[in-house]
């Protein structure tokens, strides 16, 4: 089990009802964290259009997560 802090933005924050939470989970990659939280909060958003950052660095879905990491989940962006 790893302790991971997850931060949610925009639609993800509204689905989760919290901006941030610390979870204990079995996760090897950022995608595992995404899927865990998606199931936890009943979201149906596919990860394909979403982005992820780990400890304030943009990451890929197959980037490994470590105990104590902060994972930032970004729903599809729409700047401009």
């Amino acid at each position: 089990m790893k302790t991971i802090t997850v931060r949610y933005f925009a639609m993800f924050r509204e689905h989760a009802g919290v901006a941030e939470e610390t979870l204990s989970l079995n996760a090897a990659t950022a995608k595992d964290v995404f899927e865990f939280t998606r199931d936890r909060h009943g979201s149906t958003e596919p990860n394909g259009h979403c982005k992820v950052a780990i400890n304030d660095h943009m990451a890929d879905w197959d980037t490994a997560v470590s105990d104590g990491d902060t994972v930032l989940l970004f729903p599809p962006v729409a700047g401009g």
């Binding site: 596919p46 962006v77 401009g80």
Partner: protein, 160 residues
């Protein structure tokens, strides 16, 4: 012995990209691009429009994760400078609740010749829209609201 040309490059003190919750002062931004070597500049202003995909939009709400907007935005500007060498560029993105007609994003590029300014400006706005952690929520006339590219993406079955 000559001074290397790199020494003439002006040191930059202002952030080239920023996020603000205040009205964007486009005139001040234009002035900030002044450079004696510039033959002109191009700007793009993104405005709040009154409809999107058939929905009457009353206002927009922008949210940004500023630390990574700055990091990714600086990469976008550096890439644009490589592709279309310009003299000065700045970008400001607004966050918070915006009314119709307000400026949500401003990009300005000054260059020696117009081609670089037009092309860099276009490149920067195109990249900003798809890369920076910024989200837009539309508030509709019927009281509903929705995050752009999110619910509709899922509703329309756009798969990953």
């Amino acid at each position: 012995m000559g001074i290397p040309s790199c020494c003439f490059r002006r040191l930059r003190v202002d952030d080239v990209i920023e996020v603000t919750d205040s009205v964007i002062d486009t005139a001040a931004l234009q002035r900030s691009l002044k450079n004696p070597a510039a033959g002109g500049y191009c700007a793009f202003e993104g405005w709040v429009r009154n409809e999107n995909e058939g929905h009457v939009v009353e206002r927009l709400e922008y949210e940004a994760y500023e630390p990574l907007v700055i990091v990714e935005g600086e990469k976008v500007l550096a890439e644009a400078r490589e592709l279309f060498p310009f003299l000065e560029a700045r970008c400001v993105h607004r966050v918070g609740l915006l009314e119709l007609g307000e400026c949500a994003v401003w990009i300005g590029v000054a260059s020696a010749h117009r081609d670089e300014a037009f092309k860099a400006c276009r490149h920067i706005i195109d990249e900003i829209k798809v890369r920076l952690p910024i989200w837009k929520k539309e508030h509709y006339a019927n009281g509903d609201s929705g995050w752009v590219n999110c619910e509709r993406c899922a509703a329309h079955g756009i798969a990953d």
